[in-house]
Symmetry: C2
Subunit: 329 residues, 2 copies
């Protein structure tokens, strides 16, 4: 099936061809101390090392590559908590396309600085009182811009699914197959892309999601059988995952494939970040550490199994990072 | 030529076969912001992701693999500031060999903890007043232990050279060839191993070394044409590079191949560590960041050139790391 709302394995493979050479084939890491703690084998897809510091560049690049010349001339618009913003701004710069980015005014300063460094024009909004989707639609209509959605768009989802395509091959290269694969989950785009690939290539793999406390509405929605809304007045360390609701396109995919969900607290995420620094030598942002936190805090039974997970991003403000590391010494 | 004091390209290739599967093939990273700052292409060999958190495991594994059954039964002894200690302790554990490690009592607590976690028995010495080599020789003789030297041993040097073997192939895979390759330098073992490989595979590559202020006696020795001694009463952030003198085996190799040396200050190293966290998403220890500091602070002309360098290790005490990151925010 190939329409505008159902990601397919073929679509992900085409995306992989489209972004080849432009995106980093990020390494699949393994660490003995994490294995020991988990009681199984843990393989971490280090999207922290992706261009723009997160997996978002994959979807953004796939979206930009598919725009028409006319669309590229007019420009692209993205709404984003910061990582997708960087991905789109960077991809747009590669194609010489102007990028307008709508970001929450309380986005991490590092993310704001990086979007500017890539040449994106930022429009700020208040994520507690304003609807970013509506602002995005209005501005896009007004300026005639193509929207690059952070998760609710086929091109984005299929682009992000390419990480699972790589991960399955990388696991096979070290003699492993994922018994479970845990994806950090905001709007569910990456999870849907990965689930599409895994259902095709590795149907025995249980796809699972990790969400932060207060924004675990995707797993709640999956249990309820309908899309629920998070209370967006809640604060969370995981800025990248503070999405009000799972995406419409992602939802049916997730409903079909996701076998479990984990909720992680700010403290659990902070401890996982500290572990990643000490033992993995990897800087991970809160939203990128949710799946690691689930494994580190033994929310999943990993005994004798192989667990894959996404270290989805590393864009954390240095001051917050120093505070977290200082706290867990 | 194949004797006990001259590393050869064939010896490095044999070491690569010996450690295959046991050592991590670490990624060769590239970052657009570093390229922009340097004015050229910078490719970083991320030995931070090696087992034990530094390149040292390569040499240790090669050494342990070559011991006789009788030697393995008796056990191995290493003198080390901490990274080689971890490498040897980990390799020894793989072979079921008892490891005695002589470490300075002011070694980073993280390194001490890791050596213990790998099951090594630690004997402390005072690096400002005692001669670690002498302590090592005495203890080895007394207990009948095989010595795994951190840099002045053929097996160590050839094992460490395997990283350059990988780096040359990884660079070729992204269409690059090193115009220069900068190695973080303590006793010069890694530099000698890398120089041996590069002279063979990529003779146009200029091999260079980066040393910390106060312990830049290797480059001074090369200029003087004889092995000089550093003033070991000096403090440095780069604990891993605080070696009194270049190794006897490494010295003639370095004299033949090394084309330049860079001295980096504690402040320059700290800023490079902060840059690595923010942009490379990589935790790097001071001694592992010396070569990066040389490039970051533009001590080498990288205009239009491709510079390779070692990010040699990531074993830094969390409290020091948090302090450095907090300072450069």
């Amino acid at each position: 099936m190939s329409d505008e709302t159902t990601p397919t394995p073929e679509g992900v493979r085409a995306a992989a061809e489209r972004i080849r050479g432009a995106a980093v084939v990020t390494p699949l890491l393994e660490n003995e101390w994490l294995n020991e703690r988990a009681g199984g084998r843990v393989l971490l897809k280090a999207e922290t090392l992706q261009h723009g510091g997160s997996f978002k560049f994959r979807g953004a690049m796939n979206r930009l590559a598919k725009l028409t010349d006319e669309e590229r001339r007019r420009g692209v618009l993205a709404v984003s908590s910061g990582n997708h913003a960087q991905g789109v701004a960077r991809a747009a710069r590669l194609f010489g396309v102007p990028a307008t980015i709508i970001m929450p005014k309380d986005a991490p300063a590092f993310k704001i600085g990086q979007v500017r460094a890539y040449g994106g024009e930022i429009v700020f909004y208040d994520r507690y009182t304003e609807d970013r989707e509506e602002i995005g639609r209005m501005l896009a209509a007004e300026r005639g811009l193509a929207i690059a959605h952070p998760f609710n768009q086929l091109d984005t989802i299929e682009g992000q699914g390419t990480l699972a395509l790589e991960a399955v091959a990388q696991a096979a290269a070290v003699g492993a197959r994922f018994d479970a694969f845990i994806v950090c989950c905001g709007g569910g785009g990456m999870a849907a892309g990965c689930a599409t690939v895994l259902a095709d290539l590795s149907p025995a793999t249980e796809v699972m999601i990790a969400e932060p406390e207060g924004y675990d509405e995707t797993w709640a929605s999956l249990r309820a059988g309908k899309r629920l809304k998070a209370d967006i007045s809640r604060k969370t360390l995981c800025d990248a995952l503070a999405t009000p609701s799972p995406g419409e396109i992602a939802f049916p995919i997730l409903a079909r494939h996701v076998k479990g969900g984990f909720t992680v607290s700010d403290d659990e995420v902070a401890e996982a970040i500290s572990f990643a620094a000490k033992y993995l030598k990897m800087v991970v942002e809160p939203g990128g550490a949710a799946a690691l936190a689930a494994v580190y805090h033994r929310k999943i039974n990993a005994d004798g199994r192989t667990i894959g997970l996404t270290l989805s991003g590393g864009n954390i403000d240095p001051s917050l990072y120093a505070t977290i590391l200082g706290r867990f010494g």
